[in-house]
């Protein structure tokens, strides 16, 4: 089954798309040469499909965007941050299992 791809966000669109989002949002901070980032990418894509209409799933390339990662003190990637009402609800660092991410997502619903 196909569905929406994760939304690509940038420093310019972050506030509008994520902080002002009506739904909870999850942002995957990643970079092209980070192996573990590429390894969790399929999980993030699956979650974008499975939580369609419930959670806004997005990705931000830390190579192209410096402001937002700095604002949230991101010093390691992959980092996933779950936002609700503009606030950080949970921050997960490293390549982790789908179930761990899903448990965090469920708390945001």
């Amino acid at each position: 089954m196909s569905g929406p791809e994760p939304l690509q966000v940038s420093d310019a669109t972050f506030e509008e798309e994520i902080l002002k989002s009506d739904m909870p949002a999850m942002v995957d901070f990643w970079a092209a040469w980070c192996g573990p980032c590429r390894a969790i990418a399929p999980v993030v894509e699956e979650l974008a499909r499975d939580y369609q209409g419930k959670v806004k799933v997005a990705k931000m390339n830390v190579d192209e965007n410096a402001k937002t990662p700095a604002k949230y003190g991101i010093r390691a990637i992959p980092t996933l941050i779950i936002f609700k009402g503009g606030q950080v609800l949970e921050q997960i660092t490293g390549a982790v299992s789908r179930s761990l991410i899903e448990n965090a997502l469920k708390k945001a619903l």
Binding site: C34, G35, P36, A39, G73, R75, A76, I77, G94
Partner: protein
């Protein structure tokens, strides 16, 4: 009907496990490969692999492990995500316990690899992910234009120092001896880098910082002189420890936790084989891991044919 779920279960999907899976699949043995995180193992975090034959321009660790997995799956290897909690040795077959499930295997190949070693100094644990990193390809891009430190002197420390030169303005390479252990080729490249300042005979005593890494406390082991070094991040590459704690008591390991085998990759327990970095051996490289994996799969096949003829 067989008395077990799989002829061979392989634990760990790094180069050793994936190669064992390829050979077992081509031998038409019913084989399952279990991986707790992501296929590729430590290779996954390597930016460019330059010493694995067949790729003269080098290949990214991600692409190499992806190709190995696809190749093994093409020949029938079954791949599953799952962590093995323990191993129960039996006379006829062995039992692997996963969360909520037990799997029986005629033979087991342990290829659970190794992970980075901690430095073991104050501040390291508290500041991990806040400037303390063990993965240059993951976190290097976040230190663009900054001053950082690398600790270590082996292949990984040197390779990753070169990678980090793409981002950082200045790299302090801190090594406890007066010479590197890493490949001569890598040493030449690191020494030629204007951005890299080498601190020989120097150890990190403490990593300091409030919200993030700010300062390293250093000590020269020859002169005893102590100093502080302000850095935005520190990358630690001081060797590996084997992933063998899950075997506790069921399979003997050496004093460092590595598994001893003979030249056929057989452990002291019939039907249990080991391959790759988790094995006690001279050189831990992708090139040696794939050799271990092929040998282990072949030896496991011979063992099954001899002890459990169909």
């Amino acid at each position: 009907m067989s008395a077990w779920d799989y002829d061979i279960i392989i634990v760990g999907a790094g180069p050793a496990g994936l190669t064992a899976g390829l050979y077992a699949g081509r031998a038409r043995l019913k084989t399952l490969l279990l991986e707790k995180l992501i296929h590729g193992g430590q290779v996954m975090t390597t930016d460019l692999v330059e010493n694995y034959p067949g790729f003269p321009e080098g290949i990214s660790g991600f692409e190499l492990s992806d190709r190995m997995r696809k190749q093994a799956e093409r020949f029938g290897l079954e791949f599953r995500n799952g962590e093995v909690l323990d191993l129960k040795v039996g006379p006829d077959h062995h039992l692997l316990r996963l969360e909520g499930e037990e799997l029986k295997a005629g033979a087991v190949i342990i290829a659970s690899g190794a992970r980075y070693r901690n430095l073991g100094v104050p501040g390291e644990e508290a500041l991990t992910g806040k400037g303390v990193s063990y993965c240059a390809t993951c976190d290097g891009a976040l230190y663009r234009g900054q001053t950082i430190a690398v600790v270590g002197g082996g292949d990984t420390a040197l390779t990753d120092t070169l990678f980090l030169c793409r981002f950082a303005d200045k790299i302090h390479l801190i090594h406890r001896r007066d010479a590197f252990r890493g490949e001569k080729f890598l040493q030449e490249q690191v020494l030629a880098q204007g951005k890299v300042q080498i601190h020989w005979d120097t150890v990190v005593q403490e990593i300091q910082g409030n919200q993030a890494v700010e300062t390293l406390q250093l000590k020269n082991v020859k002169t005893g002189k102590e100093s502080s070094l302000p850095v935005a991040g520190v990358f630690i590459f001081v060797g590996i420890v084997p992933n063998s704690a899950w075997l506790k008591g069921s399979l003997p390991v050496d004093e460092w936790g590595f598994i001893s085998t003979n030249a056929q990759m057989a452990t002291s327990i019939p039907g249990i084989f080991a391959a790759g970095d988790v094995r006690s051996k001279l050189l831990r490289q992708i090139a040696t891991a794939v050799g271990d994996g092929a040998t282990a799969a072949f030896a496991a096949g011979e063992y099954l044919a001899e002890h459990h003829p169909r």
